[in-house]
Symmetry: C2
Subunit: 354 residues, 2 copies
Amino acid sequence: MMNGARLVELTERKRQILKVVIEDYIRTAEPVGSKAIAAEMGGSVSSATIRNELSDLTEQGYLEQPHTSAGRMPSPKGYRLYVNELMEEQRLSLAETEHIRQSLQLKMEELDRFLGQAGRAVSALMRYPAYVSAARKGGVTARRFELLPVDENSCIAVLMTSDSRVKSQLLRMQLKVPPDQLPDLVSLLNSHFTGVSLQEMSQRLMSVSDQIGPQLFLLLSQVVAYGADVLEEAGQREIFTAGASRLLKLPEFRDADKAHELMSFLADSKENLPMPENRQMEILIGPENVSDALKDASVVVASYDIGENMRGLIGVVGPTRMDYAAVAARLSSFAEGLTRLFEKKELLPKEERE
Amino acid sequence: MMNGARLVELTERKRQILKVVIEDYIRTAEPVGSKAIAAEMGGSVSSATIRNELSDLTEQGYLEQPHTSAGRMPSPKGYRLYVNELMEEQRLSLAETEHIRQSLQLKMEELDRFLGQAGRAVSALMRYPAYVSAARKGGVTARRFELLPVDENSCIAVLMTSDSRVKSQLLRMQLKVPPDQLPDLVSLLNSHFTGVSLQEMSQRLMSVSDQIGPQLFLLLSQVVAYGADVLEEAGQREIFTAGASRLLKLPEFRDADKAHELMSFLADSKENLPMPENRQMEILIGPENVSDALKDASVVVASYDIGENMRGLIGVVGPTRMDYAAVAARLSSFAEGLTRLFEKKELLPKEERE
DNA sequence: GTTTAGCACTCTGGAGAAAGGAGTGCTAAA
DNA sequence: TTTAGCACTCCTTTCTCCAGAGTGCTAAAC
């Protein structure tokens, strides 16, 4: 009855019991007793038998007891086994797939705004707090500059980045620059400051300082500084969280102090939230999390592609007894949807046939 | 002893007692007893006298009792009197003024991003949740369009709005348009679609349909649609909230259900948060709020100017016993700082000498 | 008339104590 | 190996009791 080469340290029945305990506990948030397990297993064995098994499982660290005479609840190790081997991949109903599809049908404006909406949608779908972010896969560089004269004191700087985002800003010029000199400046910008890293940009700025007049150089510096700002910002990831208040509906976070700890962590930490390393999806259970604030919580995080140059991630935070099967299924479906959505280039046109 | 023309429905002593009760309650969140009040008033009167006064104040609706034998706590009416007449304008210490000044010294990128930071700063300063938003004073129109060719399939649309914001986006063209036709299109855009309302824009789009070729018209529609999007978005207000989790630290919101109600309201309601009507600052106490979720909370909200064409607001949400004097002083200082900051045009350059 | 002391009364909040219940672990028998 | 039986443990809920804080009233003092 042992399947394949896997080390069998648990009989089939133990595995089944563990599964029942976990799924019960996920539902009720209460320790599960031997009698309830026996009933749920169809009465084929008595509660006494179950008790024996439970005591083994506890000894092996898959289950825990809050106190001697309470039922059992899963330990992180138990959840881990569940997630790795016991959990049945959940299939989504047609209605749910449709629902996910619809929440992705949003009018897309800016990526940031869209991510905020995606986070809210996921949080509503899972009934847990969610977070989203996007990061460029490689370094971003400038692809093209443009300057549009407004009047003698100001002009509009337009910058297209290597990931096809376009940003623009009104620049006030310290010194007056005749509009007919702008084209030269633009071609200088495009020949010297595109396709290179931030450091390289500032070096080149130095090296061209003597080739052009001081007014032009001042304006050039402004434009390059603006470009550097945009690129820097593009390189950073910003993380949006949504639905944090849902925590308060969970029995494990009814204690205001606990809830506060996690919620303020979610609100502040733009950095420390888990990212999936290489895999498509990652599940981090309780103490597997690095951050202290997450030690009593679990995180399911998936990644998706935004066109060819960016990669985003989307995660859900919940109690350790979260319904991993359900969350994982929905999240991966959502992430796939996002990838497909961005493939259709609507938000971020791909590089044009390069 | 009655001062001026004001209707004296409260003796000076009653007013003083009311003030002591409120300030005590603000500090402790516990009902205040007659003995404590007597002590705090320097022992000039006995607790029995205070009791008589308290019973009058309760009858007149300025104070409430949670139950017969508890101390008194302020009613919304009491807070209202306090805010209107009793509260002493608090002066900020040098250190605090400095602190406010510093939190406004931020690198400003986009307005949205900046507002988010301002909200966080206010929330941290007041230790209560905060919200910020900005709205254009009048309708926003397009001031100038520009089109930059990228390749034969796409171009960059740049739009400068009447409030001097510049937005841009890459457009893919359905039909190929020779680059040399773009200047004509741009002048058409600038002559017909600037300075007019959204409705007017769509009407004019219809009326020019027969003046230009079909490819150009298609592109024109795209650009105008993009412009409409930008203007529409600019007209809406988006509200950012920050520090919602601070609620959980307050005794009145340690109950998870109460906290959840208010927090989810803050997270969702992009519309229903109080705005100051005309005045610089408004204080809304408990039931004075329109939204149910705020009936047990108070809001202090101030407005500030963003250059000449926009007005923002910034508010703080707290328990009814919030320290109105402190919050009002800090918030108004913050709002003033914001106005001054935006006067210096760094984020939003004013209209150029019009 | 106002203020005060005194006192009975009310209500809350917390500490025990008691009862009930769920569940275990062990033993001994099937 | 499984099961029934049973004593035992520990939590939870409920109740009761008590101390404390505070009021409201009355009657006396200023």
